[in-house]
């Protein structure tokens, strides 16, 4: 009995795939044809919660609110993937099977890569904001995925190249031992070496089980490298910077937080963080549009915090997706995730957080990237005033050229 049940379900699934998209039972389909479901899958309980998490949900809700009354309603679900690929993949399968049209955010590259495959298999949409691995638009690129906010290539190019140019020609990496850390180290090393620099060593630490980084920092110190590259994120980066200062690394080494947002600065405090260089495509105080966006979304944000880059990315990518849905009609968008993403690529993007831009053939959203320096305590004028722009990379140069990514979707 059990065996035949499983086989029948398998056959049904296969039939569904053949029918391109799998039809829901007619009555239910009619009821739900006007509802677009966005599932925000993010880190609600771990080290990435503050720069993603509940704030990502708030920003997605903001996008939905701005796209109200377009002939469809938007429902938003949320879940915690605990930074575990298996947990995230299970939720994603369930969500897609239960009628979620697009999954939003998904920080943690290992989880994002898992969901990238599931979205493609089920012909749904994956709107990634929080993961950084550039493989999402490289070897793992998919016609069902848009990668919005940043990637390891962009971060490496901006921060890595700036430091290499300023004389930082020898590097030691402290790297989170999973897909994201590896990609960030790899992409940064490429820029360092291209600028004539050398990587003297790297320590890969277990993620997320490491609480003390002193052992790795002392190794970095002993290598006599000029730059300490932190190929990690969130609280790990904050703890590394705190302990690097404690062990006196900052006296003769430059510390490069390769993926940082002002959230980490907020947690470190300006006296510890001042002078650090970091790269972000969004900061609330960039221009009138970003300030207007931040003021609009703040009442929804947990603790009325300023939105961080990944959260703003959830707003930008959801807004653009919903515009595409409005353009092609909700029924068509729900039936074919690939077509919805194709429509997103055909339309230019425009939102207050990132300005004007576009989504490339390989799924990469492009916009300018900004190199920031953390302000000294006496330069800061208020609670969230942490960063000043020191360099801008234009949109067309900020990301890896399409031809170099190795994305199979791109025909040369």
């Amino acid at each position: 009995m059990g065996g035949s049940g499983v086989r029948r379900r398998g056959l049904l699934a296969a039939a569904g795939t053949l029918a391109a998209g799998g039809a829901a039972p007619p009555a239910r389909a009619q009821q739900q044809a006007n509802v677009i479901r966005l599932g925000v899958l993010t880190d609600m309980s771990g080290p990435y919660r503050d720069p993603t998490g509940p704030g990502s949900v708030s920003c997605t809700q903001q996008a939905a609110a701005e796209m109200a009354n377009r002939g469809f309603t938007v429902e938003i679900l949320q879940a915690d993937h605990q930074n575990k690929p298996d947990v995230g993949a299970n939720i994603a399968r369930q969500w897609y099977d239960q009628g979620v049209d697009a999954i939003v955010d998904v920080p943690t590259s290992s989880v994002a890569l898992a969901i990238n495959g599931i979205a493609r298999e089920k012909n749904k949409v994956f709107l990634n904001s929080g993961a950084a691995t550039s493989d999402l638009t490289g070897p793992a690129c998919s016609p069902n995925t848009v990668h919005f906010t940043y990637d390891t290539f962009m971060l490496a190019k901006s921060t890595g190249a700036a430091l290499a140019k300023a004389g930082g020609d020898t590097w030691f990496f402290v790297t989170a031992d999973y897909a994201f850390g590896h990609a960030l180290q790899r992409d940064t090393a490429r820029f360092v070496e291209a600028a004539g620099g050398k990587v003297l060593g790297a320590a890969r630490y277990p993620f997320p089980a490491t609480t003390d980084f002193s052992a790795f920092l002392v190794q970095a110190q002993a290598s006599r490298a000029k730059v300490l590259g932190l190929a990690n994120a969130g609280t790990d980066t904050a703890t590394c910077i705190k302990q690097a200062r404690e062990f006196g690394l900052t006296r003769n080494m430059k510390v490069a937080g390769l993926l940082m947002s002002f959230m980490e600065v907020h947690s470190l405090g300006l006296p510890t963080a001042q002078g650090l260089l970091m790269t972000e495509p969004f900061y609330w105080d960039l221009n009138d549009r970003t300030r207007a966006f931040a003021e609009r979304v703040r009442p929804r944000m947990p603790g009325q915090a300023m939105p961080a880059q990944v959260q703003a990315g959830c707003y930008g990518v959801s807004l653009h997706y919903l515009k595409a849905v409005a353009d092609m009609g909700p029924a068509a968008a729900k039936a074919d995730g690939r077509a919805a993403v194709a429509r997103m690529k055909a339309m230019p993007t425009d939102d207050d957080a990132f300005g004007q831009g576009r989504v490339r053939e390989d799924g990469r959203k492009i916009h300018p990237s900004y190199l920031f320096e953390v302000k000294a305590p006496n330069e800061s004028r208020g609670q969230w005033d942490y960063l000043k722009v020191v360099a801008t990379t234009p949109a067309e140069e900020a990301f890896r050229p399409v031809a170099e990514g190795g994305c199979p979707l791109v025909r040369s």
Binding site: P47, R49, Y205, A215, Q221, Q243, G248, L268, G303
Partner: protein
């Protein structure tokens, strides 16, 4: 000649020292766990959350009341210890007659609730807490820079562990405690208020965890998950040392800190796993732990 297994000797000494410092935290936490298990028979899964509370209460004292590090060292163990007494009175005391598993489940649940509350209130990215001025700076030891604060942590932890051991092994109060674990009704018959003693013991164990939290606040990031990252390792330490063995917990804590530190030099990817590999080996060879009585 100039290295051990390809690692320069000075670097190795530095790593040994760092391992000892991390071992100090393991020792302080596992000491509290061992005391609680030894006397209450409760596997206190909330220990990590209470360690985290220690760091947060230190931050609150500084930010809300302007009371700095030295005040925190005195006040935090008392405040969090009192919270522990409350937990024991309200919840844990109801479980003494039941199987270990119930205590484990209850305290695990409490840990999740406490962490969740702090996460909702303070977020996950952590709060700044600076090293006190008197202990900032570092010594140049030739083979490495030793931050003065880290040296202070090792010395302070050693003193705290030694003091706890002396109280339990060498004082009349300690004798009552040990007697009560052997035969509570008999000790009660001699006129000792055993339930109150048990409550206070839990409070003291929690106070030790909170003290660890204060020590950790200036060097780790003060965030809600700081305890849950540590607690599993600390449990392994207690199991390896022998459940309930106080001396075992302290020695194993320091020793495993060193082993972990060395792993970070030779094969950093395995540094989170090495302690559990040792745990498996020890459990196979000596199921009662290195210092436990079978």
């Amino acid at each position: 000649m100039d290295g051990i297994f390809g690692i320069p000797a000075p670097l190795l000494f530095g790593q040994l020292l760092l391992g000892l410092i991390n071992g100090a935290f393991y020792a302080m936490l596992s000491l509290g766990l061992a005391v609680i298990f030894g006397l209450l028979n409760i596997v206190n899964m909330a220990h990590g959350a209470l360690f985290m509370m220690g760091a947060f209460v230190a931050w609150m004292l500084l930010t809300w009341f302007g009371l700095g590090y030295w005040w925190a060292l005195v006040l935090v163990p008392i405040i969090v210890g009192a919270f522990g007494v409350l937990l024991e009175k309200l919840f844990i005391s109801r479980l003494y007659k039941l199987d270990h598993l119930y205590g484990l489940l209850l305290t695990f649940g409490l840990a999740l609730v406490i962490e969740g509350l702090f996460r909702n209130q303070f977020g996950s990215s952590g709060l700044p807490y600076r090293i006190p001025p008197a202990l900032s700076g570092s010594w140049d030891l030739d083979f490495m820079f030793l931050p003065i604060y880290r040296a202070w942590v090792v010395i302070f932890a050693l003193v705290a562990c030694l003091a706890t051991w002396l109280v339990i092994e060498k004082t009349r109060l300690g004798a009552y405690l040990r007697a009560a674990t052997e035969n509570a009704p008999l000790v009660q018959a001699f006129g000792v208020n055993v339930p109150r003693m048990v409550t206070l013991t839990y409070g003291a164990g929690v106070g030790l965890a909170a003290l660890g939290g204060v020590l950790a606040a200036p060097i780790y990031s003060v965030n809600p998950q700081m305890g849950s990252n540590l607690i599993i390792v600390v449990f392994a330490v207690v199991v390896i040392g022998g459940m309930g063995s106080i001396l075992g917990a302290v020695l194993t804590g320091f020793a495993l800190g060193v082993v972990e530190g060395l792993t970070k030099v030779f094969y950093p990817e395995a540094s989170a796993t090495v302690i559990f590999v040792i745990m498996v080996i020890v459990l196979l060879a000596r199921p009662a732990g290195l210092f436990g009585r079978a």
